[in-house]
């Protein structure tokens, strides 16, 4: 799956579960820009996992701070490359 497709999927999740109506770009930071508190971060993680049927091992991936970080982790989990 391409990064664009993954980004679209993440945007869908953000719209459906976090009420994020605006455009989503890779540079956006989850906490500062998307304003996600700890509960909403958990929600995002869980719903991204459902959407892509992957298990995020963010503890192994290091800090996931931006939308782009999240997309990259999903891509790796799906077995894709850059």
């Amino acid at each position: 799956m391409s990064d664009e497709a993954i980004l679209d999927g993440v945007a869908e999740v953000a719209r459906a579960h976090l009420g994020w109506e605006d455009e989503l770009t890779p540079e956006m930071r989850l906490v500062e820009d998307l304003r996600l508190d700890s509960i909403r971060l958990l929600t995002l993680a869980a719903e991204v996992e459902n959407r892509f049927r992957v298990r995020l091992d963010e503890l192994d991936e290091g800090s996931i701070e931006t939308v782009g970080d999240l997309v990259a982790v999903v891509r790796r989990k799906l077995g894709g490359t850059e």
């Binding site: 976090l18 009420g19 989850l30 906490v31 500062e32 304003r35 996600l36 508190d37 700890s38 509960i39 909403r40 971060l41 958990l42 929600t43 995002l44 993680a45 869980a46 719903e47 995020l56 091992d57 963010e58 503890l59 192994d60 290091g62 800090s63 996931i64 701070e65 999240l70």
Partner: protein
């Protein structure tokens, strides 16, 4: 009685143990006897590693069997477990690490036990706190069978943090005696009668008093099964909690107010298919202020699936008292009464008024506990007068570990100053707010300083002139966080214009919290003590009484509502909004 005795005695009943429900709703069950065997192995490992009686052993595990191996293993070794929370999902790790390092230091932990994934993350926090036996996984412990170390009821059993903050985390030291007393109190509410064998279902974190002391210990003491889900599973899919209650016939389950709210908004009809909540006798609601609107919404929404209205039971407690201080009557619909707003805010008097502010009763002192309501000079107040709530009972903490000054402030001649404000009405306790300066959001505590410091550097903010408070407004489903900042005298119009947004961003970055309101005030508006310290409680009181007005026309009062975009998407705020 000590916790270790319960563990030794448990495992007799074939149905007693721990059940872990995973994300696909598959369950693993372990009898208490098996839990004990595993804990004994860990105990041996700890002792041969050099852990001595009274040493603190920090535990950083998600909900799962390893937590219990480490927890009971430490207890059997005569050590004192210190449960800490595992890393957050997504977002920034540095704040978490700083906080964890601080808690490790404050607890004086000699050893940290974590699972292998968490251990890798913890490196930095552990390096900073330098526990002399390092950070290990359960599997790393040397294996050897050793006899458990005997402990006394007066020995420390658990360290719990009352406030999960970097600025001032307070390690609450609880003895075996205190915990045993609390568990006896709790068990007394659910006698084994009429053939109903009680069982508890919980998604509460195990580093939380309501999860550990309220759920784990009573199940162990009674040798019954406790069904557990990880808190992250509940938040991701709240229906899992209700489905587990139905499937495993849970009669008792506690949760903070926000959890009931989350169920109302995020559980779908399909998810409830085949769910029967009629077995749920007691749905305790505590750990944060109870919103009557949320209780009603939950009751109405889930009645269709057999939820009993009288199951909802508001309670009050705090880690400094091991847990419960008051309980409202079981099997009785919760009781909300209305009190005149102005009298409450201005005169601190509780006068029933039909159109007043509705407050939910949290009930009467649990057996063995007594309450006092006192004024600032520590004189007793009569019923109907708002004051500080003091509690006395058999399960109070020994004190804050390594912090005699804070201990002296909290424990006054055998009474615990809870720091909460409230009044008695017909013998029942009603809470109105907090005298202690702590922000409670979704069951977690934050120090106001954390939030205030975050905006210190923003251009246009008057240095040292920010006040963060949270409270439960009428009709709101949860606590609301407001930040009051004074603009500096040199601030430009455009800086002032940008302040609410800039403050909100800074607070979010530093604490993961989003203020619901940012209120910009003119310099010199915030109330202070004679020594110049900001008075947070007074700020809130003035705000609610409508008396916190800026000396116009220098700087206009700017109030940023922010509801729609705030993190509290669940919040419905129709209260007390003053806009320009």
């Amino acid at each position: 009685m000590i916790i270790n005795d319960w563990l030794a005695a448990a495992g007799q009943h074939p149905e007693g143990g721990l059940r872990f429900v995973d994300r696909s709703e598959a369950a693993t069950w372990l009898g208490w006897g098996e839990v004990r065997e595993r804990a004994l192995a860990v105990c041996g490992g700890l002792l041969s590693l050099g852990v001595r009686k009274g040493d603190r052993v920090a535990l950083v595990f998600p909900t799962g069997i390893e937590f219990f191996e480490g927890f009971f293993g430490a207890l059997l070794a005569g050590a004192v477990p210190v449960p800490l929370y595992p890393p957050v999902r997504l977002g920034r790790m540095n704040e978490y690490l700083r906080r964890t390092a601080r808690m490790l230091e404050r607890s004086g932990a000699r050893l940290v036990l974590a699972d292998s994934r968490v251990r890798r993350i913890l490196g930095e926090a552990v390096a900073q706190a330098r526990p002399d036996l390092g950070c290990r996984t359960i599997g790393d412990l040397p294996g050897s069978a050793v006899a458990p170390v005997p402990v006394e009821p007066s020995d420390l059993a658990v360290i719990q943090f009352s406030s999960g903050t970097t600025v001032d985390p307070k390690p609450v030291a609880l003895s075996h005696r205190a915990i045993a007393a609390q568990v006896e109190i709790l068990s007394g509410f659910w006698p084994e009668t009429s053939g109903l064998r009680h069982s508890c279902v919980s998604w509460l974190p195990l580093y939380h008093d309501m999860g550990l002391i309220g759920c784990v210990f009573p199940a162990l003491a009674r040798d019954v099964t406790l069904t557990l889900l990880g808190p992250e599973l509940f938040v991701a899919r709240p229906a899992l909690w209700l489905r587990a209650l139905s499937r495993y016939r849970g009669t008792i389950s506690p949760a903070p107010n926000f959890a009931y709210s989350l169920c109302v908004t995020r559980v779908s009809e399909q998810e409830m298919e085949g769910v029967d909540l009629s077995i749920w006798r007691t749905a305790l609601t505590g750990a944060e202020p109870v919103a009557p609107s949320v209780l009603r919404a939950f009751r109405d929404r889930f009645a269709r699936w057999g939820f009993r209205p009288e199951a909802l039971t508001p309670v009050y407690g705090l880690s400094e008292a091991a847990l419960a201080v008051t309980f409202s009557d079981l099997d009785r619909p919760f009781r909300g009464r209305r009190f005149d707003r102005e009298a409450l805010a201005r005169d601190r008097a509780a006068l029933e008024a039909p159109a007043g502010r509705e407050i939910v009763s949290v009930g009467r002192p649990v057996p063995g506990f007594r309450l006092r309501i006192v004024d600032e000079t520590e004189r007793d107040l009569p019923e109907g007068q708002v004051g500080r709530v003091w509690a006395q009972g058999p399960s109070l903490m020994d004190g804050y570990l390594g912090d005699p000054e804070a201990t002296v402030r909290a424990l006054r001649g055998g009474w615990l100053d809870t720091g909460d404000l409230g009044f008695l009405h017909e013998g029942e306790l009603y809470l109105t707010g907090r005298a202690k300066e702590v922000i409670i959001l979704r069951g977690r505590n934050y120090a106001p300083e954390e939030i205030e410091l975050a905006v210190e550097e923003i251009p246009g903010v008057r240095a040292g002139c920010a006040v963060a408070v949270s409270w439960l407004p009428e009709d709101a489903p949860g606590e609301v966080l407001a930040l009051f900042v004074e603009s500096s005298r040199e601030a430009t119009a455009s800086e002032i214009e940008a302040l609410p947004e800039a403050c909100r961003e800074a607070v979010l970055g530093a604490t993961n919290l989003s203020p619901d309101q940012v209120i910009v005030l003119a310099p010199g508006t915030l109330p202070r003590t004679s020594s110049g310290k900001l008075r947070r409680g007074e700020t809130l009181r003035l705000h609610l009484a409508g008396e916190l007005t800026p000396p116009a026309p220098v700087t206009p009062l700017r109030l940023a509502g922010a509801m729609a975009r705030s993190s509290q998407a669940y919040a419905r705020m129709r209260w007390d909004r003053r806009e320009e």
